[in-house]
Symmetry: C2
Subunit: 295 residues, 2 copies
Amino acid sequence: MVEVSARDGLQNEARSLPVETRVALLEGLVAAGLRTLEAGAFVSPRWVPQMAGTDEVLRRLGQPAGVTYSALVPNLQGLDAALAVGCREVAVFAAASEAFSRKNINCSIAESLERFGPVLAKAREVGVAVRGYVSCALGCPFSGEVAPGDVARVTTALHEMGCYEISLGDTIGVGTAQATSRLIAACAAEVPVSALAGHFHDTYGMAVANVQAALEAGVRVFDSSVSGLGGCPYSPGATGNVATEELVYLLEHQGLATGVDLERLIEVGVFIDSQLQRVGGSRVAKAIKARQCFS
Amino acid sequence: MVEVSARDGLQNEARSLPVETRVALLEGLVAAGLRTLEAGAFVSPRWVPQMAGTDEVLRRLGQPAGVTYSALVPNLQGLDAALAVGCREVAVFAAASEAFSRKNINCSIAESLERFGPVLAKAREVGVAVRGYVSCALGCPFSGEVAPGDVARVTTALHEMGCYEISLGDTIGVGTAQATSRLIAACAAEVPVSALAGHFHDTYGMAVANVQAALEAGVRVFDSSVSGLGGCPYSPGATGNVATEELVYLLEHQGLATGVDLERLIEVGVFIDSQLQRVGGSRVAKAIKARQCFS
């Protein structure tokens, strides 16, 4: 389980949180049992004010044994900033859709991959692991459908460049189980399925079903956000990432141990929702809190 | 698609709605393209005040060509009341869990089936179709796990007694896709899969994934509620039935035509949520409304 609430979650919430709150969120998640967490992004605070102070967040967290706090880095400068605060893992962000790549990161897919070349080379040199994201893996807000072959191509490129894991992102949450199965099949034909992760947004309520489809296709790593934090920049007000609570429920009830304490996780969700003044996005949390009131 | 918002949905909402609002809800759903709808229940208003006036609801609706308005009937008296207002379809409600049967309908499973005998006999005589519900098909709030074999036994009994369709209900929404697959396999070994329907509550956010698992097992009939109306009497405040909007999205995007106009359906959801003063329960509706504001 890769907890992305402090990055993908918070960057899609209207309210920006101070460093201490983000540190409390991340440490709470670790206390609940999560072990791999994206702590922030080294991007311009002009474009993503929610990620300002990522260096300070990471400095305060440190890199405790058994826990991986990673950061998104768009380029070599970002990698250097991550290295300066001791990151042992970083992530790069590509897109499967040409239109999205141009509008979101302001360059073509090929140019973005070129830009990641020196990042991956330097990361290898200093022994830092790099995770790759492929966004728009099940659809693009600008160009609509995205062919599984296009996703597989970018996935393969990132894998060959040295990304140890590639997270396939349904950025706008439009995919269904059927589409997810086709996507994983296309990508697993090119890279080992153990190098793939699923990153599903619940915009249209399909995320849990998509996780299940990916599980059945052999994927064993999933990104999620506590309390379903986040949203969709292309549908403001819509539902965010699949909730970590739902992921824990699904996995544990199907015989896959997560090591996460669900009750503690729910408390972290209550904390961060109150900080953001938002309504919680986890139905598992809602049901368990309701049951507690009832009994 | 069997729309259960006016029965299973409303009976789990705290606020009782007057007859005219329920008629408007049902007619709105028909205008959106739904064709099979549960309109109410002939149960004591002392126990279920939300269903008071079901006779009047059905009288006002009539039985227009191409539309089936059915009603839940607990016994022969209920059937007579349904016949008096022209129902061409009714439903009976059994449980797969002995503990639930005793607490919910105040008799053993065997006694409930015995009680349905005369209902089914008379319905056959007058040419009225009977649908059967098996509740607690994936878990019981009192006794926990429910074996698929126990569900298959009640399902078979209802089928042999003359129910043309048996709706397998995850009453408390605890099931996962894996459990759903096992359940459908067990029941389809005893009765034709075309006689089975899936009825999933989204209490723990698993409903869409469970619909998908049932689809893959050959089930082609699903119960749902517009805007996810309803809840769970055993976890007050928890999420209700799978939202009809989510079901339409899932099916249509996987090549299964529903005949439902999603935009009109969403409008019906907005209407009924305002009447109930509740927050909508469909993420599809939320995303589409957000997209409309954005563009």
